[in-house]
C-alpha cells in the first residue's frame, strides 16, 4: 500500500516551513500519479480476475482434469452411457466455437451447457490449446467390414445424393482445419449420433444462425448405413 510520507511541516525538523511545504507538494505530486496508476492497475486486475482468473496455470490444470474425467485422460473420448467425443488433436477454433454454442444453447446439451457456462474466453482458449496437443491412438471400435465403404464415401462423396467428399473440407486425413473439426479417431457411436441427429442438436437458435448449417444438407443426404460406414472408417484414423 502506498502511503504519502507524512510531512508535518509544523513540526520542527531539518527543513524550514517553506521548504517543507514545497517538498510536501512535490512529493505529493510525484506520488499522486504513482498512486493513481497503482489504483488503476489494481482495479483492472480485480476486474480482470473475475473474467480471466480462470486462466491461471493452476486453474487450467484443474479444469483440464475435470474435462478428462469424461473425455478421457488424454482426450481420447469415452464410451460411457453416452459416447463422449474425442477432443485430442481437435482444432482449437472448433472447440471454442462449440463451447460458445453450448453456452448460448445454439447447440443443445444440458451437461455441456453447465460445463461451458462458467468458462471464460481465456480459459476456453487454454483448454482448446491443451487438447489440441494430445495425440493418443484412435478409439477404434467401428465395424471393420464397413471401413472400405466408409473410406470411399469420405474421399469421393456421393454424387447422386449431392453429398460432397468429406475430405474436401475436413482434409484428406480428416485432421480438420480452422473451424472445420478433426474427425480422425472420433468415436464411431458419437459420429453416428451427431450425423443422424444434426438438425435436432445444432443451430437451435433461429435468431442466431451459425456455421453448423453447412452440415445440414450433408447429414440429411447420407443414409444411416452410409453414416455407419463413414463413422467406422473415421474411428480408426490416426
Amino acid at each position: 500500500m502506498i502511503t504519502r510520507p507524512s510531512l508535518r511541516c509544523s513540526v520542527a525538523g531539518p527543513l524550514d516551513d517553506r521548504r517543507c511545504r514545497r517538498l510536501a507538494k512535490v512529493v505529493g505530486l510525484k506520488f499522486a500519479p504513482l498512486s493513481a496508476i497503482l489504483v488503476i492497475v489494481f482495479a483492472t486486475a480485480v476486474r480482470a480476475e473475475n473474467k480471466d482468473a480462470a486462466a491461471t496455470k493452476q486453474a487450467v490444470e484443474a479444469k483440464m482434469k475435470y474435462c478428462e474425467v469424461c473425455h478421457g485422460a488424454s482426450g481420447q473420448g469415452f464410451q460411457g452411457y453416452y459416447p463422449i467425443p474425442r477432443l485430442a488433436g481437435q482444432q482449437p477454433d472448433y472447440i471454442k466455437n462449440q463451447l460458445e454454442a453450448f453456452d448460448e444453447r445454439r447447440r443443445v446439451n444440458p451437461i455441456m451447457f453447465n460445463v461451458a457456462h462458467v468458462l471464460s474466453p481465456a480459459m476456453q482458449t487454454a483448454l482448446a490449446t491443451n487438447f489440441h496437443e494430445f495425440n493418443p491412438k484412435p478409439f477404434g471400435g467401428g465395424q471393420k467390414d464397413l471401413v472400405a465403404a466408409g473410406q470411399k464415401i469420405f474421399e469421393e462423396g456421393i454424387a447422386k445424393s449431392d453429398v460432397p467428399p468429406c475430405a474436401s473440407c475436413h482434409g484428406p486425413q480428416a485432421k480438420g482445419d480452422g473451424q472445420f473439426p478433426r474427425l480422425a479417431g472420433q468415436l464411431p457411436d458419437y459420429v453416428f449420433k451427431k450425423l443422424t441427429n444434426w438438425s435436432k442438436e445444432r443451430g437451435q437458435d433461429p435468431a442466431k444462425p451459425d456455421t453448423s448449417a453447412i452440415m445440414e444438407p450433408i447429414a440429411h443426404g447420407l443414409t444411416e448405413p452410409q453414416i455407419k460406414a463413414v463413422a467406422a472408417y473415421l474411428s480408426y484414423l490416426e
Partner: protein
C-alpha cells in the same frame, strides 16, 4: 504237493532254484502250488484293448470334466452361491443396512460386478470379507452370479433425508462446474442405470454411497503396480464436499 516244497517262494526263502522245475510254458505254478493256465495270445490282445479303451475313456472324461467346469457352472452350485450372497446383500439384492452398509447388487451392470470381484481378489480393492467371498469364485460363477443380480429389480431401500434430494439431483445432472465436478449423468446415464463398466447408482444405499465417495482413494486402486479404472472417479470424489456427497447420495438412494 507239500507246501514246504516251495520254501523258496516264502520270504527269506532260497531263490536259487526258482526255475528248476520245468513245466509247460502255457502253464505257470501259483504260490500255493496250483498249476494255472496262462491266457492265450488272443485273450491278451482283447484284454489289452479293453483296458486301453477303458483308460482312454476315463482320461477323456476326466479332462473333459475339468474343462467343462470352466464353461458351465452347475445350476445347483449357482443357486447355492446366490443364497450365500443374499444372506448379506438381501433376498432380492436390494442391499442391507447392517453394521456395515452392504450395497445393493440388484440391477447392477454385469461388467461392473465382475470387475469388482476381480478387484477384491487382486487386492486392488481391499475388503477382508469380500476378498474371501471372491477368492473361491470361478470366472463362470462370477458371470452367472452377476447375471442373476442384474435381473433383480426391487424398489430402492430409501431412508435418506428427503430434503437433500433436490440438491442432489442438480449435482447429478449438472455437476458442479465451478468446483470442477463433472456431471454424474454424463457417464452414469440420466437415470443412473450405468453402462458396462460404469456402475448403476440408482437405488444404491445412502450410507454406502457416502462411504465410497468419501473414502475413494483409500479403498480403490490400492495396488500401484496394477492401476485400474477406479482412478477415473478420484478427481470427482475429491472435489465433492461432504454436503454435496450427502445430497447426491440421498438423490440416488431414492431412484428406482
Amino acid at each position: 504237493m507239500k507246501l514246504n516244497s516251495y520254501r523258496r517262494c516264502r520270504p527269506g526263502g532260497d531263490h536259487s532254484k526258482v526255475n528248476e522245475e520245468s513245466i509247460d510254458p502255457s502253464f505257470r505254478r501259483a504260490r500255493t502250488g496250483t498249476l494255472i493256465k496262462r491266457p492265450g495270445r488272443r485273450v491278451l490282445q482283447v484284454a489289452g484293448l479293453r483296458l486301453a479303451l477303458q483308460l482312454a475313456v476315463l482320461t477323456i472324461l476326466f479332462f473333459a470334466a475339468g474343462r467343462a467346469d470352466a464353461a458351465v457352472v452347475a445350476k445347483s452350485a449357482v443357486e447355492a452361491k446366490l443364497a450365500y450372497c443374499q444372506d448379506c446383500h438381501g433376498l432380492t439384492g436390494q442391499g442391507y443396512r447392517g453394521f456395515f452398509p452392504i450395497p445393493r447388487l440388484a440391477g447392477q451392470q454385469v461388467e461392473y460386478l465382475e470387475n469388482q470381484l476381480r478387484a477384491f481378489v487382486e487386492g486392488r480393492r481391499p475388503n477382508p470379507i469380500m476378498s474371501n467371498v471372491a477368492h473361491v469364485l470361478s470366472p463362470s460363477m462370477i458371470t452367472a452370479l452377476a447375471e442373476k443380480f442384474r435381473d433383480f429389480n426391487p424398489g430402492p431401500l430409501g431412508g435418506a433425508p428427503k430434503d437433500l434430494i433436490a440438491k442432489g439431483q442438480k449435482i447429478f445432472q449438472e455437476g458442479v462446474p465451478d468446483a470442477n465436478v463433472a456431471a454424474c449423468a454424463a457417464c452414469h446415464g440420466p437415470k443412473a442405470l450405468g453402462y458396462e463398466q460404469i456402475p448403476r447408482l440408482a437405488g444404491q444405499l445412502y450410507p454406502y454411497l457416502i462411504k465410497e465417495l468419501t473414502n475413494w482413494s483409500k479403498e480403490r486402486g490400492q495396488n500401484p503396480a496394477k492401476p485400474d479404472t477406479s482412478f477415473i472417479m478420484a478427481p470427482v470424489a475429491h472435489s465433492l464436499t461432504r454436503p454435496q456427497v450427502e445430497a447426491v447420495a440421498a438423490y440416488l438412494s431414492d431412484l428406482k
